[in-house]
């Protein structure tokens, strides 16, 4: 009996170690999830990688499909479309921009940010564009026109607003919109606050005109003005 159990354990060992290896290798997990579509999926990933697109993003997209119960043919179609967007993002932003920026650029294109805005942002700003592109997408999703959205984000980048403050911009715009402003004017208002150095992650109320209260000293003899007397 003991030998039977031992033999069965030895026979099961490759399956166990094989599964453990698959956990560490996303492509191995993709092969497990979609054994009949493995060839197509690997070809898409390989072609995209040679064009400078991050392969891990495509492998993750396939795993996402598996987790969400998506059939193989839909996953292949989705990977094809995603690969095209990633390649376009590489062309617009440049290969040296980094995987996060490339992925964020592909997401921005998916969300309707015009390709021209990505190209302009890449030309006008150096470094990581991950968060600015995400904020552009959030603003446009809120209804802000592309030009207004770009100006707000660009201004924040010029002023070197940090990660948190950049991510707070869409919330501030939505706040202004709930107060009755249109998307474009709301974005302009946030941009104006950014420009005047008064945006710290939240918007403020309207300014107060001078002299909105009583005089500082009520019993002074000065300041009575010129006029007629009566009584």
């Amino acid at each position: 009996m003991r030998w039977t159990i031992l033999i069965l354990l030895l026979l099961a060992l490759p399956a166990v170690t094989g599964n453990a290896a698959a956990q560490d290798d996303p492509l191995a997990r993709v092969r497990q999830a979609y054994p009949t579509a493995t060839g197509e999926i690997e070809a898409i990933i390989s072609d995209a990688e040679s064009a400078g697109a991050p392969a891990d993003a495509l492998a993750a997209k396939a795993l996402e499909g598996a987790a969400k119960g998506v059939p193989a043919e839909r996953v292949v179609a989705a990977l094809h479309q995603y690969s095209l967007r990633l390649r376009e993002s590489v062309q617009l932003l440049g290969r040296e921009r980094g995987a996060s920026s490339i992925i964020s650029g592909a997401d921005a294109l998916r969300r309707g940010v015009p390709a021209e805005q990505l190209r302009t942002m890449a030309m006008e700003h150096h470094g990581d564009l991950t968060v600015p592109l995400m904020v552009m997408g959030d603003l446009m999703e809120a209804g802000v026109p592309a030009g207004n959205a770009y100006r707000v984000v660009s201004r924040a980048m010029i002023q070197e607003h940090n990660h948190e403050e950049m991510l707070a911009i869409p919330g501030a715009v939505r706040q202004m919109m709930r107060a009755g402003q249109g998307p474009g004017p709301a974005a302009d208002a946030v941009g104006q606050a950014i420009g005047s150095g008064q945006f710290h992650g939240a918007m403020h109320g309207p300014p107060v005109p001078p002299g909105s209260g009583p005089p500082d000293h009520a019993n002074s003899e000065r300041g009575k003005g010129k006029g007629k007397s009566s009584g």
């Binding site: 989705a78 201004r155 209260g213 007397s229 009566s230």
Partner: protein, 371 residues
């Protein structure tokens, strides 16, 4: 001026909401200018301010605390409109009416209407602002004793002033959230010509917000120096304490003189909404970052998160204090993710980076910044 200061602090301190309401209670002490005969005055103040979309207003009352002080009541109602300002000029217009009445020993009533048009132009990170000013009003000073034993007297004055100014504002350090400004103003008023030049600065220090201003006035009555320092500290949700001290400047329309004053005000925002925890909070920790994800779904029996960071495997979240939470240690990068709430895919409406997943559903996006 104290009210104007308190209001300007409130307007610049607290984030705008659909409707904001502030209740202020404080004490203030004022001294007359050095060349004016008069006694110091101390009073306790209670009032409120509101901001509703483009409109704003206030109402205040003060109780004299010594024989030299006078009770007063005052209020403001106004509206502001702004447009443009990005990549080009911006324009704005603010209008307001102010009225107040000051009691014994000499009753002083005044009502004014003011219009402030503005135009501003971004210059890189700085902003150049051109501001106009026009005001009309009427005041009445009534002495029931006619200056001591005589018949009652009343002096009615027609008030007017117009003018404008130029200001340059610039951020000093985005990290410290500090900015500075400098400007000049000129007014022509019933009392004569007023000229002013000023510099100032403001910013955040932790939970506090500070503001200082130095303004030199050349007035028909002589030179005046206006100094103002204010400090506002958030105590807890909906509560702020504000302090201000300095030497107030004149008001060209009201003709009110400068005088030393200071005050302490407790501000309560009864409409302040409980702050929802952020969906994502980042805590840098060496080469990786601890990411705290919190989801408010009281109605859920089970919540899990999954995304690029978990190779799209579901990771159960823990329920604590009415929220579902999980901590993850993640290297820098961009991660798409979402939640399964009782088995159904869910992404909050205000989640950052909502993007369709190419499978007909939405994902949120988490960015962990690099060093």
């Amino acid at each position: 001026m104290m009210i104007a200061t308190a209001m300007s602090i409130g307007a610049t301190e607290v984030a705008a909401q659909d409707a904001s309401l502030y209740v202020d209670a404080g004490v203030s002490h004022a001294r007359p200018p050095a060349d004016v005969t008069g006694d110091p005055a101390t009073y306790a103040m209670l009032g409120g301010r509101f901001v509703l979309g483009p409109t704003f207003g206030s109402a205040y009352g003060a109780q004299a605390l010594d024989a030299n002080s006078a009770d007063w009541l005052g209020g403001t109602l106004g509206a502001a409109w702004r447009t443009g300002g990005i990549g080009g000029p911006g324009f704005g217009l603010t209008g307001s009416v102010v009225a107040f009445t000051i009691g014994r020993p000499t009753r002083y009533d005044a009502a004014t209407a003011r219009l402030v048009p503005e135009a501003w132009l971004p210059l890189g990170a700085s902003t150049l602002r051109l501001r106009g000013y026009g005001g009309l009003g009427r005041s009445e000073v009534a002495d029931p004793d006619g200056g001591g034993g005589g018949p009652p007297t009343s002096v009615i004055s027609d008030l007017w002033a117009y003018g404008g100014g130029l200001e340059l504002a610039t951020p000093l350090s985005a990290g410290l959230s500090t900015h500075a400004w400098a400007g000049a103003e000129v007014y022509e008023a019933a009392d004569g010509t007023f000229l002013a030049g000023y510099v100032g600065g403001g910013g955040n220090l932790g939970r506090a917000r500070w503001n200082v201003r130095v303004k030199y006035w050349d007035t028909p009555g002589g030179d005046e120096l206006e100094l103002r320092a204010t400090l506002s500290i958030g105590l807890t949700r909906g509560w702020t304490v504000e302090s201000a001290a300095g030497r107030a400047g004149p008001d060209p329309l009201l003709g009110s003189p400068a005088g030393i004053d200071g005050g302490l005000t407790l501000v309560w925002q009864p409409l302040a909404r409980p702050a929802s925890p952020p969906l994502i909070a980042l805590q840098p920790s060496g080469d990786s970052t601890t990411v705290l994800i919190q989801l408010e779904r009281d109605d859920a029996e089970s919540v899990s998160v999954m995304g690029d960071f978990s190779a799209w495997e579901e990771v159960a979240m823990e329920r604590r204090d009415g929220r579902w939470m999980i901590r993850l240690a993640l290297p820098p990068g961009i991660y798409h993710f979402g939640f399964r709430v009782d088995g159904a895919w869910y992404v909050p409406d205000d989640a950052p980076g909502r993007v369709t997943d190419d499978y007909g559903q939405l994902n949120a996006t988490l960015v962990v910044p690099g060093p």
